[in-house]
Amino acid sequence: MNSFVKFFSSIKVSIFLLIIITLATTLGTLIPQGRSVEAYTEKYGDWAPFLIKSGITRLYQSPWYLFLLLLFFINIIVCSLTRIKKKFTQAFKPQIMTEERKLETLSLKKTFTCPQSVSQAEKRLKEILSSRGYKVKEQSTQGIFFLLARKRFSGLFGSDIVHLGILIVILGGFISGAAGFRENIALAAEETKSVPGTDFFLKLNRFETHYYRDRSVKDWKSTLSLIKNSKIIMTKTIEVNHPLSYKGFVFYQSGYGWDWRNPEVELVMERKTENPFSESIRTIVGEKKSIKEKEIEIDPLYFVPDFVLTEENKVTTRSLEPNNPALYVKISEKGEIVFAGWLFLKYPEFNTRNSQGDSFLSVEFKDLKAEPYSIIQIAKDPGVPFIWAGCFFVMTGLFLAFYFIPRQLRFLIKKENQYTRVSAGGTAAKAKDSFKREFDKIIQSFRRTG
C-alpha cells in the first residue's frame, strides 16, 4: 500500500502519464476512428487486423486508453491528498511565532528600529496591514510580539480545485460512457413514436425548413409534443441549438430527410403530330395510370433522388438529397411499349430519347412531392451535470491559481534598548515583483508615521 501511494504521489509519474496520454490521444487523430473493417483493410492492408485488435481504430473507447485515464485519475487523487494536509496546516493552523534568523532567509526582508513602544508599533503595523486587505494573527511571549499577516490565501488551493474539477469531469465522462444513451428517430408530420426506454411518446406536429434568400438552409423547426397516457405533457418547437428537455431526456433537431419510398410525381405527356394532345398526370411511384380512355398507360417504376451511374453502369443514388431526382417510366400505347427510360426533373435535356416507334410521344418529369421527415435525436446523459460542475471547479481553480496569489508577511517586534526593533519578512510563490513593491510600501508607510 505504501509503495502504491509513493508511486502515485510522484510528480514524475504524473508528467509521464500526461505525456503518454497526450501521445495516445494524438494517435487517435492520425488513424481514422470507427470505420468499417473493409475501409481499414483497403487503407492499411496487413496492418488492419492489428489496428482493429489493439483498439487503435476505436482508441478513445479502448480498454487501454480508459485504463490510462484511470491511472491518471488515481494519480491526481493521490498527488492532491498527499500534499493537501500540509496546505491545510499552512492555511488554518499556521505557526505565528518565528525567529529572526528564519526571517532573514526569506526573499523579502527588512529589519529596523523605531522610537515607538512595542505595543504602539504593533498597533500601527496592524492598521497598515489590514488597510491593505491583510488578515493579521498575533501572538506574544516574553515581551516579543509576533504578527502573521496574509491575504488571498484561498489561492493556495487553486490547483487543488482545478484537480478536483478534472476528477469530476473524468468521472462524468465515465458515467456518460456507461449510462449515456443516444438515439435518432425519424418522424413525419403527425407521426407518433414511442421514446425508447420510457412510457411516453413523441409526436411531430409540424416540420418546417426555413431558407435564406440564396436557398441555403436557415433552420429546421419541429413542433414536438410529449404524450403520456394519451395526454399531452408538453409541446415545444425545437430548432438547431434550441432543444427540448424533459426529465433528463433532451430532444434535438438533428437532421431531416424525405420519404423516398413512393413520392408523388407529375408527368406531362405531349404529342404534336397525329391526334395531338397535351396532358399532365399526377401519380405515385409504383402506381400505373392510364389516359385517353386507357389507350395510353403510364407506369412510373423506379425513383432515385440523386441519380448516378456506377462503374458497372448501374443506376443508384448518390445521396438522399433531391439533387438529381430521376424517374424510370414505361409508357405503352394500345398495349405496345412506346417508351421506357429515365426522366430527369432538373435536366430534361438528358431524358432518355423520347418516343420509340412512331408515336412521337414526348414525356417530361415536371414535379416531385415527397413527405419530409424530421430526425430527432433523443439523448439522456446522466454524466452531464458532473461535467458542468467539473468545468466550474476547473475555471474557479485556474482563476485562483493564476490571479489570487497568496501573500504572507511575518513580523517580529521586540524592545531593544530604548528603541523598538522590527524584523519583517515575506514570501510569495509567484508575482514576486508586485509583492516586493507592496512590501516596500508597507515598511515605508510605517516608518513615515513612526
Binding site: I11, K12, S14, I15, L18, I19, I21, T22, T25, T26, G28, T29, Q33, Y60, G173, S176, G180, R182, Y212, R213, D214, S216, V217, K218, D219, W220, E239, V240, N241, H242, P243, V250, Y252, Q253, S254, Q377, A379, D381, V384, I387, W388, C391, V394, M395, L398, F399, F402
Partner: protein
Amino acid sequence: MTESALFFCAFILYAVSAAFLFVYLFSEKDKWARTGYQIIFAGFIIHTAALAARTLESGHAPFTNMYESLSFLAWCGAFAYVSMEGKYKIRKAGPYFILIIIVLMALASSPLMPKEVRPLMPALQSYWLWLHVSVTLMGEAFFAMAFVTSILYLITKSKKSIRSKQKKDLTPERLDFISYKCIAVGFPLFTLGGLVFGMIWAYKAWGRYWGWDPKEVWSLITWFVFALYLHTRLVMGWKGKRSAITAIIGFLAALFTYFGVNYLLAGLHSYL
C-alpha cells in the same frame, strides 16, 4: 468607410508599426518604439472598427469563415501585444510578434479566402458562437506571443556567449518570465473558450458535450501540452530552455487545432 477599407488601413498601420519597431531594434532610440506602439494602437482601433462594420453588415459574429476568423485572430494578436507591452514593456520582442499579426492579415486578404458575407448555417446560429470563438482565439493569441518570446529565448540564450552586450529588456530571464505570463493569460482563456464553452455549445447543438471530433481532440492535446508546461515549471522547477521548447510545441498544437485540423482531418468543425 467600408469594412474592407478599414481592414486595409489596419493592415497598413500594423506594417508601418512593425517597420518602426524594427528600426528601434537597431537604432535603440526610444522614440521609434514609442511611435511604433502608438501606430499599432491606432491600427488596433481601426481594426476594431472594421470588425464592427463587418458585424453590422453581416448581422452575425465576425468569425464564421476563414477570412473573418484570420482577421479576428490578428485582432486578438494586436490586443495581446498592446496589453502585454503596456504591462511588461516587451518592446524588443514586439516587432517579431507583429510579423505574426501581419502574416495573419496577409493570409486573410489573400484572394484564396472568400470574403463575401454568407448567411449562417443552422448550427452556428447561437450566442455561443461569440463566446466560444472569441475567447478561444484570444487565448491562442497569447499562446502565439509566448511562442515568439520562447523562440527569442532560445536565440538569445544560444547567442549569449558570442554577444556579451545584452540588451536590457531582452535578457533570457525576462523572455522566460514573459512567456510564462502570456501562458498564464492564455491557458485560462483557452480552457474557458475552447474546452468549457465548446463543450456547452456542443451539448446544445449536437446533443453531446464531447464526441472525439478531431478539432475537439486537438484542443485537448493543446491543453495537455500547456498543462505539461505549467506542471514541469511550477512543480518540477523547469525553466528556460525546456520550458521554452514546451511552449513552442504547445503553440504548434494550437496552430494545428486552429488551422491544420480543417484542412487535414475531416470532422464536424469543417465549416471553420
